[in-house]
């Protein structure tokens, strides 16, 4: 909070696309260079503004996927059916293109290196994006033990899989559990299904560990998982949520 008070007015800055990477068939990571970027905390987001030649604008919020690194900011964007901004960001944008970002934003759904307690991250679909920034930030600066439960539809929907596998072995104290709702890989330990009390019990920190929990994904997912965590004995005050819209983004 004191850090936020030091910053001046936060308003629109130009972001230049430096790199575009496919994550899945429908999601891409955009590597942006934002001159004057003041750095950010893991879990924060930006607002993205696109302007058409006639002045028409569209604004959407996207979580930052990367840990702070100078003036580089990575966003992972998933294509939303009938979306207005995501089709542009996932299908049109190329290196060299420019748009505007406002941020970093959000002082509550954040993880900071000074946090000592265990961390429980629970992601639904594209909700993994801000949690990935937490995974990336804690690897370089923190050692609070972390568990990530990442629920996706199918194996083809997973973001960052090679990196998550690498970090699970290389980073200290990171455990990753993937759960599938529609189709699981052959031999997966659990048949496809939504996150339920059994999975919470098997794959997440028990309540007496008193972790800070970060839950992110579509609104219905967040409601359900937050309820399961409370049922499992977690203090609601230690559960932080970030709801994306019903389709998985703020549209």
């Amino acid at each position: 909070m004191a850090r936020a008070a030091v910053l001046g007015r936060v308003t629109w800055r130009v972001a230049v696309v430096e790199e575009v990477r496919e994550e899945t068939a429908t999601a891409r990571t955009l590597g942006l260079r934002v001159a004057g970027w003041p750095g950010h905390d893991a879990g924060q987001h930006v607002d993205v503004r696109l302007t058409a030649p006639d002045g028409y604008t569209a604004v959407r919020s996207y979580s930052i996927a990367s840990a702070a690194a100078g003036d580089l900011v990575e966003l992972t964007v998933e294509l939303v059916p009938d979306g207005e901004v995501s089709p542009y960001l996932t299908q049109v944008v190329a290196a060299g293109d420019r748009f505007e970002v406002r941020g970093p934003l959000g002082g509550w759904f954040v993880w900071r290196p000074g946090q000592q307690e265990a961390v429980q991250l629970i992601a639904g679909g594209s909700g993994v994006v801000p949690l990935m920034s937490i995974v990336r930030a804690r690897a370089t600066s923190g050692s609070a033990p972390a568990r990530l439960l990442y629920s996706v539809r199918t194996p083809q929907s997973v973001f960052y899989l090679p990196e998550l596998e690498r970090r699970e072995h290389a980073d200290t104290g990171l455990e990753v559990t993937l759960a599938y709702t529609r189709a699981a890989p052959a031999g997966h330990s659990r048949p496809p299904g939504r996150v339920d009390a059994g999975l919470i019990g098997a794959a997440t920190w028990p309540a007496d560990r008193q972790p800070t929990c970060y839950v992110c994904g579509p609104t219905g997912f967040v409601e359900s998982v937050a309820g399961l965590l409370v049922d499992a004995g977690h203090d609601p005050g230690r559960i932080r949520t970030e709801r994306f819209g019903p389709s998985g983004g703020t549209s």
Binding site: R49, T51, A52, P53, Y56, T57, D82, V92, D97
Partner: protein, 199 residues
Amino acid sequence: MGIISRGFSGRRRPGEEDLPPGQYLTEGFPVLSAGPTPRVPTAEWEFSVVNEAGEAQRWDWTAFRGLPAVDVTVDLHCVTRWSKLRTAWRGVSLDTLFADVETAADYALVHSYGGYTTNLPLEDLLDGQAWVAFDYEGEDLAPEHGGPARLLVPHLYLWKSAKWVRSITLSHDDVPGFWESAGYHNYGDPWREQRYWDE
């Protein structure tokens, strides 16, 4: 104006139609709401008109549906820039609802279930300009679009067409409603692009 992003044009298609300034055509019917969707069973629904002296006329659902209703086809213009043309509704004209209302007041404040309000001159509700609509495209009006019944005042921006309409109170004073007291224009004529209060 912000920097232009190469190749971005948004959802719009070039309109062959004559649209108010700054509007674009939409094919869907976006659902916008300032809060949770009220669920009002028709058995509990009531609509009233209250004049400046506090005298009220009320209709329950049965009485309301017993009034003469008309089919209208109107264009909708939302201040968030989407327009939807030739939408088909069935509803009761405000002229019918006001037939026995005695008033010398100039202003109306529309109240919705859930607390939403919007204001407009009484004369903009009359003379075939407004309806309380209960049917959209041949089906009962869905809750997310304002059902059981909503106000329809198509010559003004759609925020004036209050969903989940509950009552209209008349007054000598013009009392700004929910969006009119938060920066939006007091009248809201899309053809003069009256979006914000200082335009």
